[in-house]
Symmetry: C2
Subunit: 324 residues, 2 copies
DNA sequence: ATGAAAGCGCTAACAG
DNA sequence: CTGTTAGCGCTTTCAT
């Protein structure tokens, strides 16, 4: 029995007889044989390796959930995931080289800012790439994202239905795709409700608890306070809640607060946070699916999919206070 | 200029003249050349790949923090990280085969249960392995872990100093290394304080919020309630807090609660949770360091390092109630 | 339907 | 000090 024959069996060639096929498979199982990926990769066939590239670092609280979906979907397709790097840490690091040296077939990219140079480099490299939460496309690049705009729009609509007229917004990082989309959702939501946000009602932060806290203090210091606040992230919303508590403002009786993400913490704060849930595992699975197609079909058009979100109503939202 | 010469330069052979060395390096930089890892690996040299093997799934809330430390330390040493799999998902999956096929130089293993068959298989395989939170050693296997026992012992000591005499314990998953160690810490801490835990005072859970909630309800239903409860995890402590709130028991005035881990949620619950902080990034970095040594020095003895923890006092602990 | 042979990009041993 | 050569384990022609 020659190596060539074994190879053919393992690669599902049709030119091998049923008898030998069986024999080979039996032997493979018995010997616990698995082909050396390095050799396979070297000879020019597929490397079955997908890289993941992050800019945020791992601190992002829902990155794990994303990873869960990614991992599952990759395993189904036989890919292995290699953790390329956090770009932020080493600016001189050349990830395109890295991908080539590892024969990476495709890249999942997460945490890039809008217009970041590195993102463009990745698109230009021609390595099949799928961005998560960044609307970049290219010859061989596409993206998936939650429907950030519609989500915030829906949150505003919900608050409007509860009778709120002064709805403020604590924006996330300007220049980030999701930050901009969510802000746009706020503006359109307000417009659709026939409300005009005052300039003071939009406070810019960076998604963190600290800026959420400061933003809320700023809003509470206003002569006329808003009755509801939508935040660009749960972290910010938690900071906002903290500021409200310190100021003795009752949530939700005097003030309604809405977050975004539905991280674990949202459920344990008091009162539990009303927030927009992103289905991160689904986003991850979808990203893999699209990337796989991008790899398999070189001529296919750049995919871009927007995933719907759910408003999870908990305890931080209620009817607008009388005479508010 | 021959390929061999380039190879020698890139591998720091001393048998190459300064002049050509410079020339090669210049060219390498200019061409953005990086050697093909598959070929390197194939020819029997190092693969510079470390695998990570999980049983818990990624849901573990501090896994990201661990990963942060791991990644940083791996990058410093030039390794790449490959996600092998979550064992739990596919029981028939043969990770030893997988490691071999990918030429993995070493494995970081996290989330194994005490006495789990798979863990033994990994040790037996001879692949350099470093367990995190599991005290398994072998020819080429070692471990790192927080000082779980001393940590809980310290928590009990702290509560005792606050005047508590009835200190209950919500245990984590029996059969898990950390669960057992923490329980041992409770027992020894009680003994050291001259206290004898009643059988009812130890409630067994599995680290989750749900079992923490149920455990606390059980403790509150006791004829004589404990004045303090130590929990085997923050998640359980958060569940316990929830049960206490629902029962109208004031924390910390009537009841003190201590958690374990110091996850993000610990800071945002109300009152903020007193808990034992594990330095997960440090644990990750240490694991990599030890694994690297295990790989580099085949004859070296099995490493095992216990990392100290810190008790973070926040708002859920206070003096024992009068006449309690 | 099977096997022999070439070669993927590199490193190691050896010759010059 | 440099280049030539063999071969890592596999896949892919191309004969048989």
């Amino acid at each position: 029995m020659s190596v060539a024959t074994v190879s053919k069996v393992l690669n599902d060639y049709t030119t091998v007889s049923r008898a030998t096929r069986e024999k080979v498979l039996a032997l493979v199982a018995e010997m616990q044989f698995r082909p050396n990926e390095a050799a396979r990769s070297l000879v020019g066939r597929r490397s079955m390796t997908i890289g993941i590239l992050l800019t945020t670092g791992l601190s992002n609280p829902f990155f794990v959930h994303l990873l869960g979906g990614i991992d599952e979907a990759l395993k189904e397709r036989g890919y292995d995931l290699i953790y390329l790097a956090q770009l932020s840490a080493h600016p001189e690091y050349n990830f395109v080289q890295h991908c080539r040296s590892r024969n990476v077939e495709g890249v999942l990219a997460f945490g890039f800012q809008l217009g970041e140079l590195d993102a463009d480099k990745l698109v230009a490299s021609g390595i099949p790439t799928l961005f998560i939460d960044l609307n970049l496309t290219g010859e061989r690049a596409g993206y998936v994202s939650s429907d950030n705009k519609e989500a915030v729009q829906g949150a505003v609509r919900y608050l409007h239905e509860l009778g709120h007229r002064r709805i403020a917004y604590v924006a996330g990082l300007p220049g980030s795709y999701v930050g901009e989309r969510r802000l746009a959702g706020y503006r359109e939501g307000m417009a659709a409700a026939g409300l005009i946000p005052r300039p003071d009602d939009i406070v810019v932060g960076d998604f963190t608890q600290e800026t959420g806290y400061r933003a809320m203090r700023q809003l509470l210091a206003l002569a006329e306070r808003p009755t509801a606040v939508v935040c660009g992230s749960d972290k910010a919303a938690i900071g906002a809640l903290q500021a409200a508590r310190e100021a003795g403002v009752a949530v939700p009786d005097e003030l309604s607060v809405v977050g975004f993400d539905d991280i674990d913490e949202a459920r344990v704060v008091h009162p539990p946070l009303t927030t927009v849930r992103q289905d991160m595992p689904a986003l991850g699975r979808l990203a893999v699916e699209l990337l796989d197609r991008l790899i398999a079909e070189p001529g296919s058009p750049a995919p871009s999919v927007i995933v719907p979100t759910t408003l999870v109503v908990r305890g931080t939202t209620g009817a607008a206070p009388m005479g508010g």
